[in-house]
């Protein structure tokens, strides 16, 4: 019985992540790479300023009120948007960090990422165009 419960809980967990996997990470087309979730977290929390291959990275965020932002914060960063914002408020007022620029929508993020080889952003999987590269999260 316990195993069945565990299996179905796992199934639900997997299923729900699949359903929520609307967020994809995108980079410039010149930047073919695979990256793990921890590195993405470090980049978006300002702890890592370079891609794993050593080239500089510029993270592109989305508007704090957007649904995609809260989904990214919760699934990729593992905390609520309020917690992310509290995290940055600790750093911003020390000169220790500058939070990623916030763009209005998926379209603006795609434009920015397509034109900047250093950029990394996230968008809804339905918005993906062939001007950017979706990277696999290891």
């Amino acid at each position: 019985m316990r195993t069945i419960v565990l299996v179905s809980m796992l199934a639900i967990a997997l299923l729900s992540t699949n359903v929520r996997a609307g967020v994809v990470i995108i980079v410039n087309k010149s930047n073919a790479l695979a990256i793990d979730q921890k590195t993405i977290q470090r980049i978006f929390l300002g702890k890592e300023k370079k891609f794993p291959n050593g080239s500089p990275v510029t993270a592109i965020n989305q508007s704090p009120d957007s649904a995609i932002r809260s989904e990214f914060d919760e699934t990729i960063l593992g905390r609520s948007s309020s917690q992310v914002s509290a995290y940055w408020s600790k750093l911003v007022f020390t000169g220790k960090g500058v939070p990623p620029a916030e763009l209005a929508d998926d379209k603006s993020v795609i434009e920015k990422v397509a034109s900047n080889p250093d950029a990394i952003g996230y968008i809804d999987s339905n918005s993906v165009t062939d001007s950017v590269l979706v990277i696999e999260i290891k």
Binding site: K47, P64, S80, S82, V84, S85, K90, G95, K96
Partner: protein, 382 residues
Amino acid sequence: MKKLLLASAIAAACGPGFVSADIRINGFANLTAGFTTSENVDGAGNTTDLFGYDDNVDFSNGSLFAIQISGDVNEKVTATAQLLARGENDYEADFEWAYLTYSVNDNFSVNAGRLRLPLFRYSASSDVGYSFHWAQTPFSVYDVPFTNLDGLRLDYTNNIGDWDYTLQLGSGTYTSEIGGGVADGEDVLLITAEATYESFKARLVYGQSNTTFTEPTTDAAFAQLAQISPVLADKIALRDDSGTFTGLGLEYDNFTWFVSGEITKVTGGESFSADDNAYFVTMGTRIGKFTPSITYEARDGVEDLKFLEDIAALPAQFQPAATQIVVGFQNFFYEDYALTTVGLRYDLDSQVALKFDVSSYENKIQDALDATLVRIAVNYVF
């Protein structure tokens, strides 16, 4: 030198060349209403306040508005100025910080100007209510007369595997108004080490400075004492005395729940000032937009009376007057209290938080001063 650094940081922040640079404007505001549930009357029948609060609702003590402007002077140099207006100072705006940051590389930076001393976990953001779960940071630990440094701070950040660490070295001077007087610190040296591993964070701090405290009544009393015994007067006065600060902080925060604490010791060298031992322990959980928490904090600033043998060595006719001053001042500055705070934070959105804190204050020197403090706060950050 101090003024020069400050002036150059401000000039850099306001100069015409700066306007074309990439300027970032951030700000924060706290509006805090607080009151004690009954009048605070001490044993002698005098009405007193509790951390600035009394039984009338006060809106100014914990309230402030601030704007921070920073911009890149060039690829390596950033200028930051923070203009802050505190309710307790009638919202008179002041440059809380003004400094230049020179980034040697991604890991190492040199900061010069007026900046925050990295004494505590929340030192840098202790004015930014949004950054923590309380209405205000715990008084017993965070209420110290030295928060800002005029001078230099070196910051080094790196990681070893999954361990992130930060080392900070500060050096310079500080000046602050406290208890109607002025505390001056010279030759300040502060070393901070902080390490983060997943949900754990630990920090260690050690600092020292040569401290001088001047205040008219105090100075007059010590001048009087000097006529009896210059040696004793010099001992009891806080004048170029070597003080130290030691701190340890631990935190576990997995975003669902957290527990953290800080413990500090402040010594005032050979003077009327007793050593202060303070700590807080806090824990809470995040349930959706709500963060209920509980915090216990205490400060023990009482020790055995000092200089009694110096008084005993004086001629008998001078002893009563000397005792009055020497013992009186030590007693006056003794502190021994604890607070238990139950608080609730509500995240209205990613820029606004509401807080409701109720604290039970226990004065261990005078039971009559025990009180209940209620604070309601709105914190905004942009």
